[in-house]
């Protein structure tokens, strides 16, 4: 089933709009290579299944590499493809806007950015 996009921004949004996809990409961008379990730790609240699914979709869309080491227990490493890195500038802009938006809506708003624990 061939998807029909009416506007180029839909292509990008399609690829980035999963509940965890943006954050996954940001972490891979910051840290380079991450194993499945490491990624999971950085996304408090994802279920196993959902994380797997989001990663598979990112892989299908050509944004992340999946490197499987043939060993038990399994070891799988994820990283951005060269192609995924072309999205970095965009992701950074989105982060900046997010920070400003949060500042702007201020303490009375109904949204809140959580600080990372050390």
């Amino acid at each position: 089933m061939r998807k029909q996009y009416m506007h180029p921004i839909e292509v990008t949004l399609d690829v980035v709009c999963g509940k965890w996809k943006g954050v996954i990409l940001c972490h891979l961008q910051e840290e380079g290579i991450l194993r499945f379990g490491e990624l999971k730790k950085r996304l408090p609240g994802v279920s196993q299944k959902t994380l797997t699914l989001q990663l598979r979709e990112l892989e299908e869309d050509g944004l992340v590499n999946r490197k499987v080491y043939p060993q038990v227990p399994p070891k799988v490493e994820y990283s951005l493809t060269e192609y995924g890195t072309e999205l970095e500038a965009t992701l950074e802009m989105m982060c900046e806007w997010g920070i400003n938006h949060h500042d702007k809506v201020g303490p009375n708003s109904d949204s809140q950015l959580i600080e990372k624990p050390n």
Copy 2:
């Protein structure tokens, strides 16, 4: 219910990730002011209800203005807020990436960008 974001990019994605929100923002960016019906023409396939909902959410998030003229039949104009325009550069980057992505995946892919009819 206060939303808890773990990462600033979630703030932005939250605001932009509706099925039609990105395209709506792009059209408002290109054309300035659009009435409900004009917007609807530019989004082949949206339902009345969904378009209304997407616009309401964009309004709540402070990205678009809604100007109601007290007349019958009703006339309502939508435009970007100053705040929404701060997202323009980001939206443009997303469009560019979308175009390149589409080019890259090429004619064998299962996605397709439709040309606007005149």
